[in-house]
């Protein structure tokens, strides 16, 4: 195996860390010095070599540790994974999409042999080898969506399309930015987006939904979303707010560079063939301010974005309490020089 996987934790002693390579390929979400919501959708996959945009499902040094963290979260709260009965077919579609893509994109890590519906899956990093019958759930230890998403980084929502809307009828959600699958399951696009400030009035959600309904097979898309998290914690769920909410108060001017993380979500959209459902993977990348600022363009830009952001967004994203510490810290990296367009570091 060519890839090295970190031995690290996303809770307790928080030993999570980014290697220089992970810092270089971080999906920095700001293409200019200001930020407001928009329908920021582009085609996926596709992007410079080595970036997380290159492959259908990015696998990186955090893979094994993230899957361990998911296991802990699920053991404590099985309702993080739910699938309404009519979504099982969509689960198989997702399993196929992920297994086929990973086997093609990472042949040294994953292998898939298919003979009709007799499938043989090998996942080397997690040490899994499984023979099963495609579309026959009795041949897997759990439902197809749960099976494959216990082996794939990122959260997953599966949306059922009906009445010109999308309904969150299945999901595996263990690394969410403060929203709950158990609360949102069965809701439609406008209902689950209701807490978001400003965007509905701006027409963002009407346009985004129309776009999503028209996504067809074989044409995939992505968008980036972001928020701020104290400590490298994947499970920032409302269910466990009592565990991570108070940690926001531990930020000081001295530790903000190490403890304050920019949390970026690489969200992708796939139309699934047999179920016509939409798959919505939400892949989370965490990097602390210190590591971000090691890249001069990103340090300057993040300072300007977070200094000038709309107060409603800072409140909704939950970092208003620490905004002053964050902006003061980042100001040392902003010499006022202009920044180049686009999200990638200057060469």
């Amino acid at each position: 195996m060519t890839m090295q996987f970190n031995d690290e934790t996303f809770r307790g002693d928080y030993t999570y860390h980014n290697s220089p390579e992970a810092i270089r390929r971080f999906p920095f979400p700001f293409d200019q010095d200001t930020y407001m919501y928009s329908v920021n959708i582009e085609q996926h996959p596709g992007g410079p070599k080595g970036t997380p945009f290159e492959k259908m499902f990015d696998v990186d040094e955090h893979y094994v540790a993230e899957m361990k963290d998911r296991e802990i979260t699920l053991a404590e709260d099985p309702l993080r994974c739910q699938s309404l009965p009519h979504m099982e077919l969509a689960g198989w579609d997702l399993l196929e999409l992920i297994m086929v893509s990973k086997a093609k994109d990472y042949p040294d890590l994953f292998t898939l042999h298919r003979d009709g519906n007799d499938w043989h899956w090998i996942n080397k990093p997690l040490g899994i080898e499984k023979k099963f019958t495609f579309l026959d759930a009795t041949t897997l230890p759990c439902g197809p969506m749960e099976y494959i998403t216990r082996q794939t980084q990122g959260d997953f929502a599966l949306l059922h399309e009906r009445d010109n809307n999308l309904w969150m009828d299945a999901g595996m959600i263990t690394s969410q930015a403060d929203w709950s699958l158990d609360f949102d399951v069965g809701m439609n696009f406008f209902e689950w987006h209701a807490p978001v400030p400003k965007a509905r009035k701006m027409g963002v959600f009407d346009k985004a939904l129309k776009f999503l309904l028209a996504v067809s097979q074989g044409q995939h898309y992505r968008r980036l979303n972001w928020t701020m998290t104290v400590n490298p914690r994947l499970d920032t769920s409302p269910e466990n707010y009592h565990k991570w909410g108070p940690e926001k108060r531990t930020i000081t001017p001295e530790n903000v560079g190490q403890k304050q993380f920019l949390r970026v979500e690489l969200q992708t959209f796939f139309r699934l063939p047999r179920s016509n459902a939409l798959a919505f993977p939400i892949r989370c990348y965490l990097m602390n301010l210190e590591d971000i600022a090691s890249n001069p363009k990103w340090g300057r830009r993040l300072h300007r974005v977070l200094r000038d952001i709309d107060p409603d967004l800072a409140e909704y994203k939950g970092f208003a309490v620490n905004q002053k510490f964050i902006v003061d810290y980042l100001s040392q990296f902003d010499d006022g020089a202009p920044t180049s367009p686009g999200i990638f570091p200057d060469a």
Binding site: L89, E161, R162, D163, Q217, G218, Q219, P273, R274
Partner: protein, 315 residues
């Protein structure tokens, strides 16, 4: 829209007016599978323009060895079906879109009732197979004027829950008796003439069915009409739309960049803002609301036409 270049593997005359076409990947590679009710958009090059029509897939959705469609010849249409009937032969190359679906089964249903009129049988042929594979209870009712016109009979399984109603033989379809007494949680799907779709909607409303359990195939081929001109705002260019062309086809022929998917007024992808309108937009789509239609500030170029002196589009 992602495209596939396929080979016409079979052409079969199913009835005097209907032909079945089978397309396969020339290399023998597997095609993407699809869901019951999905359609393909077929490209038909004619002179310097490309006509594109959408047709329901009638083959097994989980079988990637080929795609099949059935096309009824419409002598009064814009020419798409005539092209399929007169120009397309076995061995030809043909360009199609990947399958997409605007008429999917709602797999939450306890039972599915499928009602087809005439060539409206086509989307149900793939749905039947999906329902069989998913082992869901269903019944299908297929109405046609005469046995000769009922091209779909050849493609239907012989089964107790498949009912054929031939009006010429005195067995008319009785919607009241079909729909009354269906178990709670039944969904009904209709595809066929507008009259049939309306009749099913009325009948289910009388019986108190929730609207969300009543589905119909919304897209049809764009109708021909009188020629008209349209102005493209960004370039100031005037584009002429011929009688047998849709506005979308005319814009494409004039190399104006415009997005599409269904080409049948159902997906919303071609939605375009109108910046000037002196006359009346003939809205033929199923996408815009009644208010939007009345305001004449939006148009769906895949289906709709115009009558008047000036129409300018925000393109």
């Amino acid at each position: 829209m992602k495209k596939l270049c396929l080979k016409v593997a079979e052409v079969e005359q199913l009835s005097p007016l209907v032909k079945r076409f089978r397309f396969e990947e020339p290399t023998g590679a597997a095609l993407p599978v699809f869901s019951g009710g999905a359609h393909l958009t077929v490209e038909m090059p004619e002179g310097d323009m490309i006509r594109r029509n959408s047709y329901s897939l009638i083959s097994d959705p989980y079988d990637g060895s080929g795609y099949e469609i059935a096309v009824r010849r419409e002598d009064k249409g814009r020419g798409g079906s005539l092209y399929m009937h007169t120009k397309v032969a076995e061995g030809d190359e043909i360009t199609v879109s990947v399958p997409s679906n605007l008429f999917q089964l709602d797999l939450r249903a306890k039972k599915h009732v499928l009602i087809a009129g005439g060539i409206g049988i086509t989307p149900f042929l793939s749905q039947l197979r999906q329902l069989d594979m998913e082992q869901k209870p269903y019944e299908l009712h297929y109405a046609a004027r005469s046995r000769e016109e009922a091209a779909g009979i050849k493609l239907l399984p012989q089964a107790a829950h498949v009912h054929v109603h031939i009006s010429e033989e005195g067995s008319r379809m009785d919607l009241g008796s079909i729909l009354d007494g269906q178990p709670l949680g039944t969904h009904v799907y209709t595809c066929g003439p507008d009259g049939l779709i309306t009749a099913v909607a009325d009948q289910t409303a009388r019986l108190g069915w929730p609207k969300t359990s009543v589905h119909s195939e919304a897209f049809t081929a764009p109708p021909p009409g009188e020629p008209f001109d349209v102005v493209v705002k960004s370039s100031g260019k005037t584009v002429h739309v011929k009688a047998d062309q849709s506005l979308l086809e005319a814009l494409e022929a004039a190399k104006v960049e415009i997005d599409y998917s269904c080409r049948g007024g159902a997906c919303g992808r071609c939605h375009t803002k109108v910046t000037a309108c002196d006359g009346r937009i003939l809205h033929n789509d199923h996408w815009l609301s009644d208010d939007e239609r009345a305001a004449q500030q939006d148009i769906m170029p895949c289906m709709s036409r115009f009558k008047g002196t000036r129409l300018e589009l925000d393109l």
